[in-house]
Amino acid sequence: MGGYGDVQMIDENGLRLDGRGPGDLREISIETGVVPVADGSCRMTWGTNEAIVAVYGPMEAHPRKIQRQDRAVLDVSYNMAPFSTTDRMRPGFNRRSREISKVTKDALESVVLLELYPRSKIRISIEIISAEAGTRCVGLTAASVALADAGIPMTDMVVSVASGKINDVVVCDLNKEEDNYGEADLPMGILPNSGELVFLQMDGDLSQEEFELAWKLNMDAATLIHQKMVASLKGGDSQ
């Protein structure tokens, strides 16, 4: 493929740099109720990614000009902590975090029953504590768990996962090296119960067959991740 694609990231046994097979996910753990003052919260670790999400509301939307008379508005902010990457991340919003906040908001708006809370606002703060690759997927998935924890009515939860291509092989859940030196990246936001898509981005090039394979890998991974989300939400309650 040329360019960065020359870096060898799959060995002769078909295993990746961290020993995973093409369809394997990194290790995921989910914990709810980690921010006591918030209405709902979630800490999600995904490989060496870590995100904390807090949900507040529904509450009165301020300033009043953002209020909608027929539904609630979501106020999503995605932010990376300065210490989350090896290069210091400059605090505050940048172009990238604004974009991720927006796509996360759009994805969540299609599941949250906004019309039940006219004129109000639901605030979702996504803070990335440790970033490796795929933090937008971690943020979106953790946000839907935190919303469920806060008792916000939703028709489904959003599971987000990315697949990509490295050394001409389609693999699931890219890590940092695969993301940096690979050829393509396809993050998706999936509603696990209906299989509908609420979020899709693509970075790089995929042929139609590769795209379909990446799609399938994401769909299969989403089922696994959804099981973990359900287990954490149900398990956290019985303690």
Binding site: G33, D39, G40, G57, P58, M59, E60, Q69, V111, L113, Y117, P118, R119, S120, L147, A148, D149, A150, G151, I152, P153, M154, T155, D156, M157, L191, P192, N193, M229, V230, L233, K234, D237, S238
Partner: protein, 228 residues
């Protein structure tokens, strides 16, 4: 702690239609948003449940409850949503010449017009009667479509709160505090010797000896701590 609601659900299923297609769904009591909890045929969707394409889907995280023909989800976390005729405890959060704004723990502040205030108040004299930060016992008079509400202080026992303490729990836990027919609450009042007024927005006014108040507080902690 988890066993009580499960047992109740099992009892109900044995009594009523045990051979219904929803047989499997009944055994599990905890649900998450998006989870399919059965067919909508012959069943009414209650709180926290919607019916789409002949299926019932939970829209909140919580415990599944069945009452008669209605299937509902009792949420694990909830926020107070005002309903007309609810008894509530609120804090004054602002005032104009003829209106008080009352914070109820709901998404929106309620308004308390001077005409529904305590006794006779002169125009412009709102702050001298009830100032910002004061707690009041009031009743929800009206809730509009846009969720803004009006509260009133005209009625039996509605007044400004001048003594005791105010505690707060999630509104859906009130049932556990009050008990069936008010049994638990009556017992708590007798044990502690305190005067307790439980409002529908999850707040309660406790007045009495310090030891009694501490006892009530520990009970509240055990109710809200045991759930989350």
């Amino acid at each position: 702690m988890n066993s009580r609601p499960v047992a109740r659900l099992d009892n109900m299923s044995r009594k009523s239609d045990a051979g219904s297609p929803r047989g499997n769904g009944r055994a599990q009591s905890l649900v998450v948003p998006g989870e399919e909890i059965g067919k909508s045929e012959g069943v009414e969707a209650g709180h926290g449940v919607i019916a789409t394409d002949g299926r019932l889907i939970a829209i909140k995280q919580g415990r599944l409850r069945e009452k008669g023909k209605t299937l509902s989800v009792e949420p694990t976390h909830s926020r107070y949503i005002p309903r007309p005729s609810d008894l509530v405890i609120g804090y004054i959060e602002g005032c104009t010449n003829n209106i008080w704004f009352v914070e109820l723990g709901a998404p929106f502040n309620a308004i308390l017009p001077m005409s529904l205030g305590p006794g006779k108040v002169e125009f412009g004299g709102t702050r001298s009667v009830m100032d910002i930060g004061d707690a009041i016992l009031c009743r929800v008079q009206e809730v509009e479509e846009t969720h803004s509400s009006v509260v009133t202080m005209k009625g039996m026992g509605l007044r400004k709160i001048r003594s005791g303490v105010i505690e707060e729990i999630d509104p859906h836990l009130l049932g556990r505090l009050i008990g069936r027919g008010g049994d638990s609450l009556r017992k708590l009042k007798e044990e502690t010797g305190c005067r307790i007024v439980v409002a529908d927005n999850g707040r309660m006014w406790i007045d009495g000896e310090l030891n009694g108040i501490l006892k009530v507080r520990s009970r509240l902690n055990s109710i809200s701590g045991g759930d989350s």
